[in-house]
């Protein structure tokens, strides 16, 4: 039987952490791009477009992320597509992230005073130009703290992908537990690594919020 030293455990966990970080980044960036599209659809004046976006958001916010992962992984297999775990994990997390970010950002866009829309409209700007040059630059400032805050949820959400067999931090922890029979030690270390990833994000969200509040009208 192979003996695992502490260093072996930590080294293997840290190697798996790379995948947690990569999956978090992919989900966050991909989810951000999709979220921007969904948010634009959601605030569209076209009722059908807006309803489609609302349906999407309610569907993904109203079902557990785990179910979405199962459906992406097993559901696609049932339909005859063999989906590797990383693809199912990435897709489900991107769509899930997009649903939440689009709602966070919609709130920020709608927090911008109506007069800004009216003034830019009276200057003959199209809706896209209004968004691009007047509304979004202002909305982004108030969107940064909640967006960074939500990134913590994305990092923690990646843990669920271990269940469909994607080898990231949690999955590596389970494997090591089976080999070492030291669940408390291994999962304790896993939790510490998650904390080390998430705490700086939460903290920077708080700092950003305070700074953007103080300089609410600064530039």
């Amino acid at each position: 039987m192979i003996e695992f030293t502490y260093w072996d455990i930590i080294r293997n966990l840290l190697l798996a952490t790379r995948w947690t970080i990569l999956l978090s980044l992919v989900s966050f960036i991909g989810g951000g791009l999709v979220g921007l599209i969904v948010m634009s659809m959601r605030i569209s004046k076209n009722r059908i477009v807006s309803a489609i976006a609302r349906g999407y958001i309610e569907l993904f916010q109203g079902t557990p992320l785990l179910m979405q992962l199962f459906l992406a992984f097993f559901g696609m297999a049932l339909l005859g597509f063999t989906v590797p775990a990383w693809l199912a994990a990435g897709t489900a997390l991107i769509l899930w992230t997009a649903a939440f970010l689009s709602e966070i950002w919609r709130g920020c866009v709608q927090a911008i005073a109506k007069g800004q829309w009216e003034a830019s409209a009276s200057l003959a700007m199209s809706r896209f130009e209004q968004m691009r040059y007047v509304i979004l630059p202002q909305a982004i400032r108030i969107a940064i703290p909640p967006t960074v805050g939500f990134s913590v949820q994305v990092v923690k959400g990646t843990a669920l992908t271990s269940i469909i067999g994607f080898i990231e931090l949690t999955r590596a922890g389970t494997t090591l537990t089976n080999a070492t029979f030291q669940p408390f030690l291994v999962y304790g270390l896993v939790a510490l690594i998650y904390f080390a990833l998430c705490w700086p994000l939460s903290k920077s969200s708080q700092i950003l919020e305070r700074r953007l509040n103080v300089s609410h009208n600064r530039h």
């Binding site: 007069g115 009216e118 003034a119 009276s122 200057l123 199209s126 040059y133 007047v134 400032r141």
Partner: protein, 241 residues
Amino acid sequence: MSLITVTDVRKRFGENEVLKGITLEVGRGEVVAIIGKSGSGKSTLLRCINGLEQINDGAISVAGAQLLPGEAALRQLRLKIGMIFQSFNLFPHLTAGRNVMLSQQVVKKTPAPEAEGMARRMLEQVGLSEKFDAYPDELSGGQQQRVAIARALAMEPMGLLCDEITSALDPELVSEVLAVVKQLAAEGMTLVMVTHEMKFARDVCDRVVFMHQGRVHEVGPPAEVFANPGTPELKQFLGML
């Protein structure tokens, strides 16, 4: 030849009919004041003219451009007529100069150097040439409103709609804004202004429109309207009853 033609315009908010058939013509270079109690529909009329509110019935045209739904038609119309708001509505993330440059660059695709030249000229015209790099929150209300006027003028409109543009200002700041408007009127700009400044309406306007309960109740040159109001409603409004 009239610049703005409003024909039998009706506007409802739910059950409440705010404009009950308004017909009005504004000639080129004419300065028209719209007066009336709050709720009489005067601001709504102004907002209908450049499509910020959709009309339920009737027709509006500005220099031959019909007010139609759809972004392209609205854009054509809004290029011909600018609007100044009670609450200034400057873009807070941009300097005064950038506020004046933005729509020239975005809508008219004017190159930056030319847009900047225009912005500097317009800010000079409203007496704020030294405030090009100031952000809106570094300016007083009167200065912000003058930047808003410069911003509208930079699009070279044929007319301006002014919606109670001095109502949000401290009393001592009203005159600096009105001085700019008076100068515009003297230069021949077409102006339609909803205002509570009766003295200004009397001194500067060619015509006064009194609105009451969603209708044009009385129209005439200021001398006549203010000296000999024909209806009890206008008399009451002017404090003569």
